[in-house]
Amino acid sequence: MPTPESCLVLRKAGNDQLIVTADFAATGRTAATFHDLVERLSVDCNIWEIAPLPYGTEPGKTGSDQVNRWVKDIRDSGMVVHAVIGFCAGNAYAAAMAGQIAGWQQAPRLVLLDPGIPKPVMLVEHIQGWLRRFSAGFPAEEAERAGARLDAIAEAGDHPLVMAAQLGEFFGQAVAPGLIRAGHSQQAATGFTKLVTGYLYWLAGAIQFDPRPQWRTAPALNSNSPGFGLFLAPPEERPTLVGSARYFDVAHFDLMRTKDVAAAVDQLLS
Protein backbone atom coordinates (compact mmCIF):
# COMPACT_ATOMS: atom_id res chain seq x y z
CA MET A 1 0.00 0.00 0.00
CA PRO A 2 1.47 3.39 -0.94
CA THR A 3 1.94 5.90 1.87
CA PRO A 4 -0.45 8.79 1.26
CA GLU A 5 0.94 12.32 1.57
CA SER A 6 -2.38 13.92 2.40
CA CYS A 7 -3.85 11.35 4.79
CA LEU A 8 -2.87 9.54 7.97
CA VAL A 9 -3.04 5.75 8.03
CA LEU A 10 -5.15 4.70 11.01
CA ARG A 11 -5.34 0.99 10.15
CA LYS A 12 -3.65 -1.29 7.64
CA ALA A 13 -5.43 -4.38 6.35
CA GLY A 14 -4.36 -7.19 4.05
CA ASN A 15 -6.90 -6.33 1.36
CA ASP A 16 -7.75 -3.54 -1.07
CA GLN A 17 -10.72 -2.11 0.82
CA LEU A 18 -10.42 1.45 2.11
CA ILE A 19 -12.45 3.54 4.52
CA VAL A 20 -11.75 7.28 4.55
CA THR A 21 -12.53 9.39 7.63
CA ALA A 22 -12.94 13.16 7.70
CA ASP A 23 -12.21 15.22 10.79
CA PHE A 24 -9.70 17.79 12.04
CA ALA A 25 -8.05 15.70 14.72
CA ALA A 26 -5.87 18.06 16.73
CA THR A 27 -3.78 16.01 19.12
CA GLY A 28 -5.05 16.36 22.66
CA ARG A 29 -8.43 17.86 21.90
CA THR A 30 -11.26 17.01 24.26
CA ALA A 31 -13.50 15.39 21.68
CA ALA A 32 -12.71 11.80 20.83
CA THR A 33 -11.06 11.29 17.46
CA PHE A 34 -11.25 8.65 14.76
CA HIS A 35 -8.16 7.18 16.41
CA ASP A 36 -10.45 6.33 19.35
CA LEU A 37 -13.24 5.00 17.15
CA VAL A 38 -10.97 2.85 14.98
CA GLU A 39 -9.61 1.11 18.10
CA ARG A 40 -13.18 -0.09 18.71
CA LEU A 41 -14.08 -1.12 15.14
CA SER A 42 -13.88 -4.71 13.96
CA VAL A 43 -14.27 -3.99 10.24
CA ASP A 44 -11.38 -5.47 8.21
CA CYS A 45 -10.42 -2.53 5.99
CA ASN A 46 -7.60 -0.08 5.55
CA ILE A 47 -8.61 3.15 7.26
CA TRP A 48 -7.23 6.57 6.40
CA GLU A 49 -7.93 9.94 7.89
CA ILE A 50 -7.66 13.14 5.87
CA ALA A 51 -4.87 15.42 7.09
CA PRO A 52 -5.07 19.21 6.93
CA LEU A 53 -2.85 21.17 4.58
CA PRO A 54 0.70 21.62 5.90
CA TYR A 55 0.69 24.63 8.22
CA GLY A 56 1.54 27.85 6.42
CA THR A 57 0.42 26.62 3.00
CA GLU A 58 -3.30 27.22 3.52
CA PRO A 59 -3.78 30.80 2.21
CA GLY A 60 -5.69 30.82 -1.06
CA LYS A 61 -6.64 27.13 -0.86
CA THR A 62 -10.36 26.52 -1.22
CA GLY A 63 -12.36 23.61 0.13
CA SER A 64 -12.26 22.08 -3.36
CA ASP A 65 -8.45 22.37 -3.40
CA GLN A 66 -8.35 20.42 -0.15
CA VAL A 67 -10.77 17.75 -1.37
CA ASN A 68 -8.86 17.35 -4.64
CA ARG A 69 -5.64 16.81 -2.68
CA TRP A 70 -7.17 13.99 -0.61
CA VAL A 71 -9.06 12.42 -3.49
CA LYS A 72 -5.91 12.26 -5.64
CA ASP A 73 -4.12 10.14 -3.02
CA ILE A 74 -7.22 8.00 -2.52
CA ARG A 75 -7.54 7.31 -6.24
CA ASP A 76 -3.80 6.76 -6.70
CA SER A 77 -3.90 4.08 -3.97
CA GLY A 78 -5.84 1.83 -6.35
CA MET A 79 -7.99 0.67 -3.45
CA VAL A 80 -11.76 0.33 -3.49
CA VAL A 81 -13.33 2.92 -1.23
CA HIS A 82 -15.85 1.02 0.84
CA ALA A 83 -17.05 3.99 2.89
CA VAL A 84 -16.44 7.58 3.85
CA ILE A 85 -17.19 8.59 7.45
CA GLY A 86 -17.38 12.17 8.68
CA PHE A 87 -17.44 13.76 12.10
CA CYS A 88 -18.96 17.15 12.89
CA ALA A 89 -17.94 19.70 10.20
CA GLY A 90 -15.88 16.94 8.57
CA ASN A 91 -19.17 15.54 7.27
CA ALA A 92 -19.20 18.32 4.66
CA TYR A 93 -15.84 17.10 3.35
CA ALA A 94 -16.99 13.47 3.62
CA ALA A 95 -19.96 14.21 1.37
CA ALA A 96 -17.79 16.05 -1.15
CA MET A 97 -15.26 13.21 -1.27
CA ALA A 98 -17.96 10.54 -1.58
CA GLY A 99 -19.42 12.48 -4.51
CA GLN A 100 -16.09 12.60 -6.33
CA ILE A 101 -15.21 8.97 -5.59
CA ALA A 102 -18.54 7.90 -7.11
CA GLY A 103 -17.19 9.27 -10.38
CA TRP A 104 -14.78 6.33 -10.86
CA GLN A 105 -16.20 3.47 -8.79
CA GLN A 106 -19.44 2.38 -7.17
CA ALA A 107 -20.55 5.08 -4.74
CA PRO A 108 -19.00 4.44 -1.32
CA ARG A 109 -21.22 4.29 1.74
CA LEU A 110 -21.44 7.57 3.59
CA VAL A 111 -21.77 7.51 7.38
CA LEU A 112 -22.37 10.73 9.30
CA LEU A 113 -21.34 11.20 12.93
CA ASP A 114 -22.92 14.30 14.51
CA PRO A 115 -23.37 16.01 11.14
CA GLY A 116 -23.69 19.78 11.32
CA ILE A 117 -23.60 22.12 8.34
CA PRO A 118 -20.56 24.36 8.87
CA LYS A 119 -21.32 28.09 8.94
CA PRO A 120 -19.13 31.24 9.03
CA VAL A 121 -20.26 32.07 12.57
CA MET A 122 -18.45 28.92 13.75
CA LEU A 123 -15.13 30.49 12.73
CA VAL A 124 -15.73 33.41 15.08
CA GLU A 125 -17.15 31.25 17.88
CA HIS A 126 -14.04 29.10 17.83
CA ILE A 127 -11.79 32.11 18.40
CA GLN A 128 -14.18 33.63 20.94
CA GLY A 129 -13.79 30.44 22.98
CA TRP A 130 -9.99 30.72 23.00
CA LEU A 131 -10.14 34.43 23.78
CA ARG A 132 -12.41 33.80 26.77
CA ARG A 133 -10.07 31.11 28.03
CA PHE A 134 -6.80 32.99 27.73
CA SER A 135 -7.78 36.62 28.28
CA ALA A 136 -8.47 36.14 31.99
CA GLY A 137 -5.16 37.77 32.90
CA PHE A 138 -5.42 40.59 30.35
CA PRO A 139 -5.77 44.18 31.54
CA ALA A 140 -9.40 45.29 31.06
CA GLU A 141 -8.55 47.68 28.21
CA GLU A 142 -6.65 45.02 26.30
CA ALA A 143 -9.48 42.49 26.69
CA GLU A 144 -12.02 45.08 25.56
CA ARG A 145 -9.91 46.02 22.53
CA ALA A 146 -9.55 42.36 21.56
CA GLY A 147 -13.28 41.74 21.90
CA ALA A 148 -14.10 44.79 19.76
CA ARG A 149 -11.68 43.68 17.05
CA LEU A 150 -13.22 40.22 17.00
CA ASP A 151 -16.71 41.71 16.73
CA ALA A 152 -15.54 43.85 13.79
CA ILE A 153 -14.26 40.76 11.93
CA ALA A 154 -17.58 38.98 12.55
CA GLU A 155 -19.66 41.96 11.44
CA ALA A 156 -17.65 42.53 8.25
CA GLY A 157 -18.93 39.15 7.03
CA ASP A 158 -16.11 38.61 4.55
CA HIS A 159 -15.59 35.40 2.57
CA PRO A 160 -14.84 32.51 4.95
CA LEU A 161 -11.27 32.15 3.65
CA VAL A 162 -10.67 35.86 4.31
CA MET A 163 -12.20 35.50 7.76
CA ALA A 164 -9.92 32.51 8.44
CA ALA A 165 -6.87 34.62 7.58
CA GLN A 166 -8.06 37.54 9.72
CA LEU A 167 -8.96 35.34 12.67
CA GLY A 168 -5.66 33.44 12.49
CA GLU A 169 -3.78 36.75 12.59
CA PHE A 170 -6.02 37.92 15.42
CA PHE A 171 -5.26 34.76 17.40
CA GLY A 172 -1.51 35.28 17.01
CA GLN A 173 -1.69 38.91 18.08
CA ALA A 174 -4.42 38.87 20.72
CA VAL A 175 -4.74 35.36 22.13
CA ALA A 176 -1.26 33.83 21.86
CA PRO A 177 0.18 36.34 24.38
CA GLY A 178 -2.32 34.88 26.85
CA LEU A 179 -0.79 31.44 26.36
CA ILE A 180 2.61 32.85 27.28
CA ARG A 181 1.16 34.57 30.33
CA ALA A 182 -0.33 31.21 31.30
CA GLY A 183 3.18 29.75 31.41
CA HIS A 184 3.61 28.32 27.91
CA SER A 185 6.73 28.91 25.86
CA GLN A 186 6.93 31.28 22.90
CA GLN A 187 7.51 28.28 20.61
CA ALA A 188 4.38 26.55 21.90
CA ALA A 189 2.35 29.75 21.45
CA THR A 190 3.62 30.00 17.87
CA GLY A 191 2.97 26.31 17.22
CA PHE A 192 -0.53 26.55 18.64
CA THR A 193 -1.28 29.62 16.55
CA LYS A 194 -0.36 27.60 13.44
CA LEU A 195 -2.61 24.77 14.59
CA VAL A 196 -5.57 27.09 15.22
CA THR A 197 -5.01 28.86 11.90
CA GLY A 198 -4.91 25.50 10.14
CA TYR A 199 -8.24 24.60 11.72
CA LEU A 200 -9.77 27.92 10.64
CA TYR A 201 -8.77 27.34 7.02
CA TRP A 202 -10.00 23.74 7.20
CA LEU A 203 -13.38 24.89 8.54
CA ALA A 204 -13.57 27.77 6.06
CA GLY A 205 -13.02 25.28 3.23
CA ALA A 206 -15.79 23.03 4.55
CA ILE A 207 -18.22 25.98 4.55
CA GLN A 208 -17.90 26.08 0.76
CA PHE A 209 -19.89 22.86 0.32
CA ASP A 210 -23.59 22.18 0.45
CA PRO A 211 -23.53 18.57 1.65
CA ARG A 212 -27.31 18.12 1.78
CA PRO A 213 -27.76 16.19 -1.50
CA GLN A 214 -25.39 13.43 -0.29
CA TRP A 215 -26.58 13.56 3.33
CA ARG A 216 -30.19 13.04 2.30
CA THR A 217 -29.66 9.30 1.83
CA ALA A 218 -26.95 8.69 4.44
CA PRO A 219 -27.35 7.31 7.96
CA ALA A 220 -26.47 9.63 10.85
CA LEU A 221 -25.41 8.68 14.37
CA ASN A 222 -25.99 11.64 16.67
CA SER A 223 -24.95 12.53 20.20
CA ASN A 224 -27.26 14.07 22.81
CA SER A 225 -25.35 17.38 22.94
CA PRO A 226 -27.40 20.48 22.13
CA GLY A 227 -25.61 22.63 19.57
CA PHE A 228 -23.94 19.70 17.82
CA GLY A 229 -24.80 17.49 14.88
CA LEU A 230 -28.43 17.37 13.83
CA PHE A 231 -29.39 19.64 16.73
CA LEU A 232 -27.78 22.49 14.78
CA ALA A 233 -30.58 22.24 12.22
CA PRO A 234 -34.07 23.59 12.89
CA PRO A 235 -36.34 20.76 14.16
CA GLU A 236 -38.51 20.87 11.04
CA GLU A 237 -35.48 20.25 8.79
CA ARG A 238 -33.99 17.33 10.72
CA PRO A 239 -36.22 14.53 9.34
CA THR A 240 -35.23 15.27 5.75
CA LEU A 241 -31.63 16.37 6.31
CA VAL A 242 -30.28 12.80 6.49
CA GLY A 243 -31.46 9.39 5.33
CA SER A 244 -31.91 8.04 8.84
CA ALA A 245 -30.93 9.21 12.29
CA ARG A 246 -30.09 7.28 15.42
CA TYR A 247 -29.56 9.19 18.65
CA PHE A 248 -27.18 8.00 21.40
CA ASP A 249 -27.36 9.11 25.00
CA VAL A 250 -23.76 10.26 24.95
CA ALA A 251 -22.06 13.65 24.68
CA HIS A 252 -20.60 14.94 21.39
CA PHE A 253 -17.12 14.79 22.89
CA ASP A 254 -17.52 11.09 23.72
CA LEU A 255 -19.37 9.94 20.61
CA MET A 256 -16.33 8.31 18.99
CA ARG A 257 -15.10 6.61 22.14
CA THR A 258 -18.42 4.88 22.85
CA LYS A 259 -18.71 1.12 22.38
CA ASP A 260 -22.34 1.22 21.16
CA VAL A 261 -21.51 3.84 18.55
CA ALA A 262 -18.60 1.75 17.28
CA ALA A 263 -20.92 -1.28 17.08
CA ALA A 264 -23.44 0.79 15.10
CA VAL A 265 -20.71 1.95 12.70
CA ASP A 266 -19.53 -1.64 12.25
CA GLN A 267 -23.10 -2.63 11.42
CA LEU A 268 -23.46 0.17 8.87
CA LEU A 269 -20.19 -0.88 7.22
CA SER A 270 -20.98 -4.63 7.07
Binding site: L8, L10, A25, A26, T27, G28, R29, T30, T33, H35, D36, A51, P54, Y55, L179, G183, H184, S185, Q187, A188, G191, F192, L195
Partner: protein
Protein backbone atom coordinates in the same frame (compact mmCIF):
# COMPACT_ATOMS: atom_id res chain seq x y z
CA UNK B 1 18.37 9.82 32.80
CA UNK B 2 16.59 7.90 30.08
CA UNK B 3 13.92 9.27 27.72
CA UNK B 4 11.06 8.12 29.94
CA UNK B 5 12.51 9.89 32.98
CA UNK B 6 13.17 12.99 30.89
CA UNK B 7 9.57 12.99 29.71
CA UNK B 8 8.33 12.75 33.30
CA UNK B 9 10.58 15.68 34.12
CA UNK B 10 9.12 17.71 31.22
CA UNK B 11 5.57 16.93 32.34
CA UNK B 12 6.30 18.11 35.88
CA UNK B 13 8.63 21.05 35.22
CA UNK B 14 7.29 22.46 31.94
CA UNK B 15 3.68 21.33 31.89
CA UNK B 16 3.01 21.59 35.61
CA UNK B 17 1.52 18.11 35.91
CA UNK B 18 0.92 17.53 39.61
CA UNK B 19 1.68 13.82 39.71
CA UNK B 20 4.93 12.70 41.38
CA UNK B 21 7.33 11.08 38.91
CA UNK B 22 7.34 7.86 40.94
CA UNK B 23 3.58 7.55 40.46
CA UNK B 24 3.61 8.14 36.69
CA UNK B 25 2.90 4.97 34.77
CA UNK B 26 4.37 5.00 31.24
CA UNK B 27 1.03 3.70 29.92
CA UNK B 28 -1.16 6.31 31.59
CA UNK B 29 -3.07 8.53 29.17
CA UNK B 30 -1.42 11.94 28.80
CA UNK B 31 -4.83 13.53 28.29
CA UNK B 32 -7.08 11.60 30.67
CA UNK B 33 -4.65 10.94 33.54
CA UNK B 34 -2.19 13.83 33.36
CA UNK B 35 -4.74 16.37 32.11
CA UNK B 36 -2.88 17.70 29.07
CA UNK B 37 -5.05 19.76 26.72
CA UNK B 38 -4.40 20.68 23.09
CA UNK B 39 -2.08 23.56 24.06
CA UNK B 40 -0.28 21.25 26.46
CA UNK B 41 0.35 18.74 23.70
CA UNK B 42 1.87 21.43 21.49
CA UNK B 43 4.08 22.43 24.43
CA UNK B 44 5.10 18.79 24.93
CA UNK B 45 6.04 18.55 21.25
CA UNK B 46 8.18 21.71 21.51
CA UNK B 47 9.86 20.54 24.71
CA UNK B 48 10.63 17.12 23.20
CA UNK B 49 12.24 18.78 20.18
CA UNK B 50 14.35 20.97 22.47
CA UNK B 51 15.33 18.32 25.00
CA UNK B 52 16.02 15.43 22.63
CA UNK B 53 17.22 17.35 19.55
CA UNK B 54 14.66 15.76 17.24
CA UNK B 55 12.24 17.31 14.76
CA UNK B 56 8.66 16.08 15.08
CA UNK B 57 6.87 16.55 11.76
CA UNK B 58 3.19 17.45 11.60
CA UNK B 59 2.30 13.95 10.46
CA UNK B 60 4.12 12.48 13.50
CA UNK B 61 2.22 14.76 15.88
CA UNK B 62 -0.74 12.40 16.13
CA UNK B 63 -2.99 11.17 18.94
CA UNK B 64 -1.43 7.73 18.45
CA UNK B 65 2.17 8.93 18.98
CA UNK B 66 1.17 11.29 21.79
CA UNK B 67 -1.06 8.92 23.71
CA UNK B 68 1.19 7.99 26.66
CA UNK B 69 4.71 8.55 27.97
CA UNK B 70 5.65 5.24 26.37
CA UNK B 71 4.36 6.17 22.89
CA UNK B 72 6.16 9.52 23.01
CA UNK B 73 9.36 7.81 24.17
CA UNK B 74 9.03 5.34 21.30
CA UNK B 75 8.59 8.22 18.84
CA UNK B 76 11.64 10.04 20.22
CA UNK B 77 13.60 6.79 19.97
CA UNK B 78 12.62 6.32 16.32
CA UNK B 79 13.42 9.92 15.42
CA UNK B 80 16.76 9.79 17.24
CA UNK B 81 18.05 6.80 15.32
CA UNK B 82 20.15 7.71 12.29
CA UNK B 83 18.37 6.95 9.01
CA UNK B 84 19.67 3.78 7.34
CA UNK B 85 22.24 4.50 4.65
CA UNK B 86 20.80 4.21 1.16
CA UNK B 87 22.29 1.59 -1.17
Amino acid sequence: MNVTDDLKDILIEQLFVEVPAAEMDPDDSLRDVFGLDSVGFVELRVQCEDRFGVSIADDEFTPENFSTIRTVADLVGRLSRPAPASA
